[in-house]
Symmetry: C2
């Protein structure tokens, strides 16, 4: 009577994202009429109009925006439940596979902390198997939310820790990475203003969801590309201190005086009760 079914949420989110019943139905692998009817039933049961069907397409009402947002969260929680349950399965038989723990880390982030963590944890008695899952730019949050990962290394202020439990692991300053020959590379320190506005070295633009923000800088989608472009003297980048580990000889690192410090946290879903996770966190905070 008043309990929303997962299917209904999936349908509504599809329609709300596409703002088009036909495309949404196609995405869902079904025909358009039953989808229309389903959404109507949903609106009736909630007693709320979710969409305004005007000539030429559909738009969201306030309640629709709310359901899109809350529904995504609920769907994530549901798929997370399925994923984590599957992952926990089979770990019951005493001689069987051990618990597994999926740790999401930013691809290309400092390996030093990660290595120390994994080594220290593996030495613990009853340690679970840790699978390291490299994630794209700031994708750790989504991975924790929908259960692809159980725990993540996050970097404030780039990742938002909102909605997770976390412990602080490390704080570091930031550096500008410049082509070795560039005049600014001779400076002992720089400010953000210095590097954000170098005429011949525009800041690179990272790919976000397949699109690029506007600007003069080159378009990149991975760190190697960026390193290459810096080495070629085409751009400059700002990184946490620990990025020094992968610099090339063609690169020069200069500390930034006014860049916000980068704080690495270990974060996990607040409701988690996994013993293996607790062990990993304990190990991490002791490092």
């Amino acid at each position: 009577m008043d309990t929303l079914e997962t299917r209904e949420l999936r349908y509504f989110v599809a329609v709300a994202e596409e703002l088009h019943f036909g495309r949404a139905a196609e995405r869902l692998g079904m025909a358009q009429p039953p989808l229309s009817r389903s959404i109507q039933q949903l609106e009736r049961r909630l007693g709320v109009r979710l969409l305004t069907r005007n000539r030429r397409g559909v738009s969201l009402t306030g309640a629709g925006e709310m359901l899109l947002n809350e529904g995504r969260a609920a769907l994530d929680a549901t798929t997370a439940a399925a994923r984590r349950t599957r992952r926990a399965g089979g770990a019951d038989s005493p001689g069987g596979p051990r618990n597994r723990l999926v740790l999401a880390v930013k691809a290309g982030a400092s390996h030093e902390l990660l290595h120390k963590l994994l080594d220290a944890y593996a030495a613990e008695p009853d340690a679970a198997d840790v699978e390291v899952l490299p994630s794209g730019t700031c994708e750790q949050e989504g991975m924790l939310r929908d259960g692809r990962a159980d725990v993540a290394l996050m970097h404030a202020p780039f990742n938002s820790l909102a909605g997770f439990d976390s412990e602080e692991l490390m704080t570091e300053g930031q550096i500008a990475v410049l082509p070795a020959g560039h005049p600014l590379a001779a400076r002992r320190t720089l400010s953000l203003a210095d590097v954000s506005d170098i005429p011949d070295l525009p800041l690179a633009r990272w790919s976000r969801h397949g699109a690029y923000p506007p600007g003069p800088g080159p378009e990149i989608h991975d760190q190697t590309q960026l390193a290459q472009l810096i080495a070629l003297g085409r751009t400059v980048a700002v990184f946490p201190d620990s990025a020094r580990a992968w610099l090339w000889t063609e690169h020069t690192a200069v500390p930034l005086t006014d860049a916000p410090p980068v704080v690495t946290h270990i974060a996990w879903p607040a409701h988690s009760r996994s013993l293996a996770l607790a062990g990993l966190v304990r190990t991490a905070t002791r490092l």
Copy 2:
């Protein structure tokens, strides 16, 4: 194929909580056989054993524990989606009802901050209607999670802020509330050790989920009861400073030197995107 339905989660959580198919079925308002079958289907689809059916009853496997925990979170998120969407409905027509915002507060907590907040927010242009929802001991978390509330005033370290976004509003010390005539009431300050072990004034035991922790103190379930018992010289209590507002003449408040400070936060679900909520939070942080 791999998407868990809300119904399945509800069924499984019921069985996992009751550890008994018959009682779970009764609670769900259905017969036992379809429930059994449903759980079997769920196990097949997840490819994981969730329950061990041994002689005389049922127990949870590791995967079952995981699904109980994650499933509860998912169910909460789903009912929250429904509740919040219903609440947001009807606020679209320009002359219609305004947005409503449900604020959960600890029943009996300081009204001063709350009053200031409500007054200041009501003065804002485009302020939503704020419905204040008094909640039992530490129940604000559940209310935020399942959508009965949109935002809450929480008091660290009693409430856990894990899983929510929050802003700090106020910090206060704690006081011991003693019967006015008691010898210790003459002291200028006390320590926690002083009040936790007064032979003639055992600390009261709050009702939690209908049960009481063991101990010598009287059993209580609301603040008035407690005030009464203190006034009668039967017990002592520890409260935040702001509790001074409701003390009786038969009560004496003595500051505690070593009690952890109580920090009042305003907290909300991390994924929330409500404008009304943002306004309330903005008002609160400006107080």
